[in-house]
């Protein structure tokens, strides 16, 4: 499928029964969605469950999809609702021990230069710890900004918060991460 073919058209094609369109759409979105969920819940089993449930809901609602809604926003909104439900059912945030466990489970890419491996690893670790230490709403806003490139207005629409609120969350998240990286 042409890389320039927009996600929204692919979604419409799939709603009409085109399975190749779904495969393309899935290939484009799977990593971004999975990382958003995993970095939100910090639990691979829960992330797997929510990831599958997100696609299940998208498939069930494919007939109601309107091209006016940006596909990525729509997909992340479904995932966001599931993440929020998950936190409502459990404690709001992962602890430090759980964060370390997740970090160990995640596959780290190979370093390009061995002499920088330790410092790169240390920076990544600090960023990861800083992310996991953020309150849920701040972390979610930060991950949405970094992972899928959503702007203030899109994050606000997706999460149901005002743009100023989203900007405030991002400001706090950015400050804490900057502080942690400067240690």
């Amino acid at each position: 499928m042409d890389a320039a073919y927009p996600d929204e058209k692919l979604m419409q094609d799939y709603a009409r029964g085109d399975l190749r369109a779904f495969d393309t759409l899935y290939a484009r979105s799977r990593g971004m969605l999975y990382r958003y969920i995993l970095r939100s819940v910090a639990d691979r089993a829960v992330a797997d469950e929510l990831f599958q449930e997100t696609w299940s809901r998208l498939i069930a609602a494919r007939g109601r999809y309107r091209v006016e809604a940006k596909f990525t926003t729509w997909l992340l909104q479904i995932a966001h609702n599931l993440v929020v439900d998950h936190f409502r059912r459990s404690r709001p945030q992962a602890g430090a021990e759980e964060t370390e466990t997740v970090l160990r489970e995640l596959d780290a890419p190979e370093a390009d230069r061995p002499e920088h491996a330790l410092s790169d690893f240390e920076e990544r670790r600090r960023l990861q710890v800083a992310l996991d230490a953020l309150p849920t709403e701040q972390r979610e806003a930060f991950v949405l900004r970094m992972e899928s490139g959503l702007g203030l207005a899109e994050i606000a629409e997706m999460t149901g918060a005002g743009q100023e609120t989203v900007k405030s969350r991002l400001r706090y998240a950015f400050a804490k991460i900057r502080e942690r990286l400067a240690e």
Partner: protein, 267 residues
């Protein structure tokens, strides 16, 4: 917080606009976890099942749309089959009568002057030798017969037969009034117009004389085979005159009918 730090504000604005290359690179170097192959397969299987289910449900209405059409076609075919089997018996009478009437139309007098054409004696009409002479009263008969029926209905005197229903089959064949008249003396019937005999009958004609035309009506409304069976019954009942009159009427009404041997030479 750092909200009053100009350095922080510049970095934050760069972050919001996607220009913070260092943070972006660091984030991209974080582990990039992805769903495993089992999860991919599960999601793609869900997508395929959903499409397959949609296709099967969209086919069902198509089949449902065809069902009423197939049912209607089956009903029409069945009805046509029944009509083909039974139809000839039902249509035998109506198809023969129009033939007789259409043959009579060219010689029929205008309906406006029925009484001027009437003066021919009833006895002569009963002879039915002349086809043209017989057709004219035959065409005029329904009005007179209808009048008779109306009079009979309003008459309190008992009748041998009830007034026949005015169905299409019964009303259409014009049983000639001549058949009712032979019961009366010829001289008394020569002069009056068509309306007069009705008055005569309603004034006190014998019940048998009233019954005769009713019997004729009944025979005329029957299928030919049943009519002939009634004629045979009359012969068996020693009502030879009635049988002959009925046979003569039958011959007029069905000139092309091939009579059975026992009736063909009956005179």
């Amino acid at each position: 917080m750092n909200s009053n730090n100009p350095q922080f504000e510049r970095e934050f604005e760069a972050f919001l606009s996607g220009d913070d290359a260092r943070l972006d690179a660091l984030y991209r170097n974080l582990p990039q976890p992805e769903p495993n192959a089992r999860l991919d397969a599960a999601v793609q299987a869900m997508a395929r099942r959903a499409v397959a289910a949609t296709k099967s449900t969209t086919h069902t209405p198509t089949r449902k749309r065809w069902l009423p059409m197939l049912s209607a076609a089956a009903v029409v075919t069945l009805a046509a089959g029944i009509a083909f089997r039974i139809g000839p018996q039902l249509w035998q009478r109506p198809t023969r009568q129009p033939e007789a009437q259409s043959a009579a139309v060219p010689v029929a007098p205008p309906p406006a002057a029925p009484q001027q054409a009437e003066p021919a004696p009833v006895a002569q009409r009963a002879a039915a030798a002349d086809a043209a002479g017989a057709v004219a009263p035959a065409l005029r008969a329904p009005a007179a017969e209808l009048k008779k029926v109306e009079n009979a209905a309003s008459r309190p005197a008992p009748r041998a037969f009830p007034a026949p229903a005015r169905t299409m089959q019964e009303a259409a064949p014009p049983p000639p009034a001549a058949e009712a008249k032979p019961a009366m003396p010829a001289p008394a019937m020569a002069a009056p117009t068509r309306a007069k005999p009705v008055e005569t009958e309603s004034a006190g004609a014998p019940a048998a004389a009233l019954a005769a035309p009713t019997m004729q009506d009944r025979n005329a409304s029957l299928y030919p085979e049943h009519w002939l069976a009634n004629i045979r019954q009359m012969l068996r009942d020693n009502q030879r005159e009635e049988a002959l009159r009925s046979l003569a009427e039958f011959r007029k009404r069905y000139p092309d009918y091939h009579l059975p041997d026992d009736l063909r030479n009956l005179r």
